[in-house]
């Protein structure tokens, strides 16, 4: 890209390829390329080496005013609900966040509300032990809302600082499973006023444009307050969050970059956007 003498058709094609292969999607890419073309037409941009910088700024704009911080002290217990489709990294991300918060001196409780999938409870229990935080659980097949209700009763009584709730993976298109999630959310709200304080939609960085459909439906049905983007340690760029932020204006809170407890970082738009190029 930098070897070019002028901004021409070939250069724009190259940029289109970079953006599409980073999973920014057709619509966002078209919007960005049009913006570049318009600037070139108005002679406000004519140097190829300025082009990349311009694009980076434009992409960062989609994240503007979407704060990545969560103030876990703003409520007690501060309740976070983790949702998302199957296999994206919800359970592992909860473990990582629990570890992070415990190291900040918080009393953390994990709730094993995935009462459906084989060994889901055992998986979270194992992580709870590794992270040094307690896990509230019942038997497989228990009503997830009941597990949540009991866990929150205990969290309130024992003055827990942060409650992280794991849910079963589910396709956003399955009405009955979305209803189950809505019920869990209602139960949370009944038990702790103002809760859940955060509803984090976990997205896998290797996911393509379906991430938009996931975000739209989870948002419509549940309301989401933040995104958690996992598996950025692979070769996928995770550009899907650009489209999601652009449309739904939900902030990306954290990124997952591996399978161990330390592999969770707060989202930084600059680093993220630089990596696209």
């Amino acid at each position: 890209v930098l070897g070019k003498k002028q901004i021409d058709e070939d250069l724009l094609d190259e940029l289109e390829e970079i953006l599409i292969t980073a999973d920014l999607g057709v619509r966002t890419t078209q919007e960005l390329i049009s913006s570049v073309t318009e600037k070139v037409r108005r002679k406000e941009l004519n140097q190829p080496d300025k082009l990349k910088e311009y694009l980076k700024e434009e992409i960062k704009n989609y994240f503007f005013n979407l704060p990545a911080e969560i103030d876990f002290s703003s409520a007690k217990p501060f309740v976070t609900l983790f949702i998302g489709v199957n296999g994206v990294g919800k359970t592992t991300s909860i473990a990582k966040l629990a570890y992070m918060l415990k190291n900040e001196g918080k009393e953390v409780m994990l709730v094993a509300a995935d009462t459906f999938r084989a060994a889901a409870i055992e998986q979270l229990v194992h992580w709870g032990e590794k992270a040094g935080v307690e896990v509230v659980r019942q038997k497989i097949g228990a009503d997830p809302s009941a597990v949540v209700f009991d866990a929150l009763t205990s969290a309130v009584a024992r003055e827990i600082d942060v409650v992280l709730i794991d849910t079963a993976g589910r396709m956003h298109t399955k009405v009955n499973l979305m209803e189950e999630l809505k019920k869990i959310k209602r139960v949370i709200g009944k038990k702790v006023a103002g809760a859940p304080h955060e509803v984090l939609l976990v997205l896998d960085a290797t996911t393509g444009q379906n991430a938009l459909s996931q975000a739209r439906l989870f948002s419509e049905q549940l309301g989401i307050s933040g995104l958690l983007l996992t598996k950025l340690d692979g070769t996928a760029k995770g550009g899907i969050v650009v489209g999601v932020c652009r449309e739904l204006k939900v902030p990306v809170k954290y990124i997952g970059v591996g399978e161990t407890l330390d592999d969770l970082h707060p989202f930084e738009p600059d680093t993220f956007v630089d990596a696209i190029f």
Binding site: D23, G87, T206, T207
Partner: protein
């Protein structure tokens, strides 16, 4: 949808008897966009559209179809052909125990697919045994044992053994003793760029001499599908693909990307979380789904 878009493109060009360079240009642009929106890889979409252009130019428009429908017909036929013209069954020929290895990225659905395959084979009067070779993920072995109990299929597991290589060679012995004719080996999810873990898979391959190395891929995978699939194929040599989570609404363009870059057949699709949710792959259905 694409048919409507193409009909709109051709609206001003109706009454023309042939598909020409000029009227094809805009139509193909719509096809390329549809493929990209469906997560087909950038380069794969470009090559595909170029091939369509070759086929389409000069074609007579059938009187029963609009030019838009004619283009869709060509696209659908070509896409179906590329995705695999006929169903390719599992290779179960040879001296037992026949080994089937499941490999892929983290969370793609390998463990669940292992159990689905076991149930599928058991129904066909085979005596499969699953092998819990994921020693890394918390409760992975637990998960496979639980699934095995659900479908009454034996699971070879060794909770004290930390080397998947040893687990696999011991499993071979177990299968022979236990009378299992097929071993389904569930491996840990891993990144294609993790050299050590990819080498581990190569060692498992040497031990198991598998008939099938099935690459288990998530139907919602985006542009990265090409990187992952080509790496797994070049390092291991996959023999087939299972595309999971097709019960969602992902268009599944990854199917074309994976097929294009590896040349390997998609043998099954996963259509749900239950263990009977495994279906044979139909290229024509996949083609319509990708085109939206």
């Amino acid at each position: 949808n694409l048919t409507e878009k193409l009909n709109r493109v051709f609206k001003t060009l109706r009454g023309q008897g042939k598909l020409t360079e000029k009227n094809i240009q805009e139509a193909l642009r719509e096809v390329r966009l549809a493929l990209l929106e469906a997560d087909v890889h950038y380069k794969v979409a470009k090559n595909f559209v170029a091939a369509i252009r070759e086929r389409a130019i000069g074609q007579e428009v059938l009187s029963s179809l609009t030019p838009g429908q004619q283009v869709i017909k060509i696209v659908n036929e070509e896409l179906t052909r590329l995705l695999g013209e006929e169903a390719v069954p599992l290779d179960l020929m040879g001296r037992p125990p026949i080994c089937l290895m499941l490999v892929g990225l983290q969370g793609s659905g390998k463990t669940t697919t292992a159990a689905k395959l076991a149930a599928h084979l058991k129904k066909r009067n085979h005596r499969p045994c699953m092998v819990a070779a994921d020693v890394y993920r918390p409760a992975a072995i637990d998960q496979l044992i639980t699934l095995g109990n659900q479908i009454d299929v034996s699971v070879y597991a060794d909770l004290d053994e930390k080397k998947p290589e040893k687990i696999c060679s011991d499993a071979l012995g177990f299968a022979r003793q236990n009378g299992n004719n097929i071993l389904i080996v569930d491996t840990a999810g891993r990144l294609h760029i993790d050299t050590e873990l990819m080498e581990e898979l190569q060692r498992l391959k040497e031990i198991l001499e598998p008939n099938e190395i099935l690459f288990v891929a998530d139907a919602m995978t985006g542009q990265d599908a090409v990187n992952v699939a080509s790496e797994f194929d070049s390092e291991l040599g996959i023999t087939g693909v299972v595309l999971t989570k097709m019960d969602g609404d992902a268009r599944g363009g990854a199917a074309l990307s994976i097929r294009e870059v590896t040349g390997k057949p998609i043998k099954f699709i996963g259509t749900g979380e239950k263990l009977d949710a495994l279906e044979v792959f139909y290229p024509d259905r996949m083609s319509s789904r990708i085109l939206g």
